[in-house]
């Protein structure tokens, strides 16, 4: 019996050590992980996923902690995946979110995993998504993913969640950046945390103004419909009547958490009652399929091709003897004749 079979059985039986091991295999991109997921896949699809993103230090981890505590009062089992960037130079990472989640320690209904972005083939979003799948199959009712909303990676990760919570705080001066990274567009619920600090009203007002701008633009260009944008491959138009709420919280005092939980619940109900949830899932899976297929085909083709052939082509392209598109054409037609 392969190791992965054993691991899968243990994960399904609720063994936390096995769950942690399997997550590592997924992160490492091992063949065992693929085998395991192919068995676990039929057990997925029941967890609700929440992405929590926002600028560094806005209070995401504290907020996640409070949200988890709230969900625990309803007896929901909750997993948290806290993603932090790897250093592009050393490949190392300092994962510090767990430090803020110490209040959750000792609760058997909670599982916390820190994850570095690494240099994943196919993007970190895929690795995160697979980790979320494993947690879903392991029976968690909610899977919450925390990412620092600073770059494209983070937007990608947040996009795999059912409800995306964008966290801001007064005096961060990052409002413009949030728009640049496209985060405001994917936010379903906006939270202004640290509402005990001066400047809350300004931050709320600024965010509301930006939301309105965003909405008007959507309505003008898409006649009241919203695009589910997916890697530029497929766009689906469905009516989007969701009004993004802008909430205020004080995570360190547990204030506003019930309202946040309610907003997430409202959004979940909205998604399922409008059929958007099912549509999103389909589009997401189609994208994943196409991305995986693309990676696989490229990998197979490069495997079959002697490396000097590739170098020759690159040399020819660099010398302007051949253009890149024609090079691709010749690669593809050559590989067909084999």
């Amino acid at each position: 019996m392969p190791e992965s079979d054993n691991l899968v059985e243990q994960v399904l039986a609720g063994n936390r050590r096995a769950l942690a091991r399997l997550i590592s295999l997924v992160e490492d991109g091992t063949p065992e992980a693929n085998e395991a997921i192919s068995v676990l896949y039929s057990h997925t699809g029941s967890a609700y996923t929440i992405g929590v993103t926002g600028a560094p230090g806005t209070g995401k981890s504290c907020l996640v902690t409070e949200l988890v505590k709230h969900l625990r009062t309803q007896d929901k089992r909750v997993a948290v995946v806290a993603v932090d960037p790897s250093s592009p130079f050393t490949g190392g990472a300092l994962l510090g979110d767990r430090f803020r989640m110490r209040d959750l320690a000792g609760d058997p209904g909670v599982f916390i995993r820190s994850m570095a972005t690494r240099g994943q083939l196919g993007g970190v979003a895929r690795a995160t998504f697979d980790v979320m799948r494993v947690l879903d199959a392991a029976g968690f009712d909610y899977v919450i993913v925390e990412t620092v909303g600073a770059g494209q990676n983070e937007v990608e990760i947040a996009r795999v969640a059912d409800t995306v919570v964008l966290v801001d705080a007064p005096g961060m001066g990052d409002d413009i950046q949030a728009i640049k990274a496209g985060i405001l567009e994917i936010a379903d619920v906006i939270v202004v945390n640290k509402a005990d600090r001066p400047g809350v009203k300004n931050t709320v007002r600024a965010l509301k103004a930006m939301l309105e701008l965003g909405h008007r633009k959507r309505e003008i260009s898409h006649h009241g419909q919203v695009m589910i944008q997916t890697d530029g491959f497929e766009k689906t138009l469905i009516d989007d009547m969701w009004q993004v709420p802008v909430l205020q919280t004080i995570a360190t005092q547990g204030e506003g958490i019930e309202e946040l939980a309610q907003a997430v619940l409202n959004h979940a109900e909205y998604l399922s009652s409008t059929g958007i949830q099912a549509e999103r899932d389909r589009v997401r899976l189609q994208n994943e399929l196409i991305n995986r297929l693309r990676d696989r085909l490229v990998y197979d083709l490069l495997q079959r091709m002697p490396s000097q052939d590739l170098e020759k082509l690159v040399t020819a392209i660099a010398a302007r003897e051949l253009d890149p598109a024609s090079a691709v054409q010749s690669l593809v037609s050559n590989s067909k004749h084999e």
Binding site: E27, D28, G29, G91, G92, L95, R98, R118
Partner: protein, 132 residues
């Protein structure tokens, strides 16, 4: 396809004040290419072992300045055993008297590093002891 990364948990058990030393070592290990989970101050043995299990770390590094190493470490070793973490390496850093070092090693601590320890040595030790 992917890459295997050495994962290290840095924790500070016990009740003593600051965690400057633990933070410095956490950063050093990150710069050496490890994935470091930093859990900070005032961690109970239960919290440390639970975190090590969930994070599936290869190494647990304890920073103990309070002199409570002989109270805390055996408890951690015992919890590691009952949680199935026998294969996780355990390092202790701090001011540990010579006679306690051998006692700690006897109960299963893989290495003890004093306050003057060279960070390169710690990195080298981890790279050697963890089977990737």
């Amino acid at each position: 396809m992917g890459e295997r990364k050495i994962r290290v948990l840095i924790a500070k058990p016990g009740l003593d004040g600051h965690d400057r030393g633990a933070k410095v070592i956490a950063r050093t290990l990150r710069d050496a290419g490890f994935e470091v989970i930093y859990t900070g101050l005032r961690q109970t043995p239960e919290m440390i072992v639970e975190a090590a299990l969930q994070e599936d770390v290869d190494v647990i590094g304890l920073s103990i300045l309070s002199g409570a190493h002989m109270a805390l470490t055996p408890r951690i070793v015992e919890l590691m055993r009952t949680s199935g973490l026998e294969d996780v390496k355990l390092l202790v850093g701090g001011i540990i008297p010579e006679e306690d070092i051998s006692k700690l090693k006897e109960i299963g601590v893989n290495a003890v590093f004093g306050p003057g320890a060279n960070s390169e040595d710690i990195v080298k030790f981890i790279n050697e002891i963890v089977v990737v």
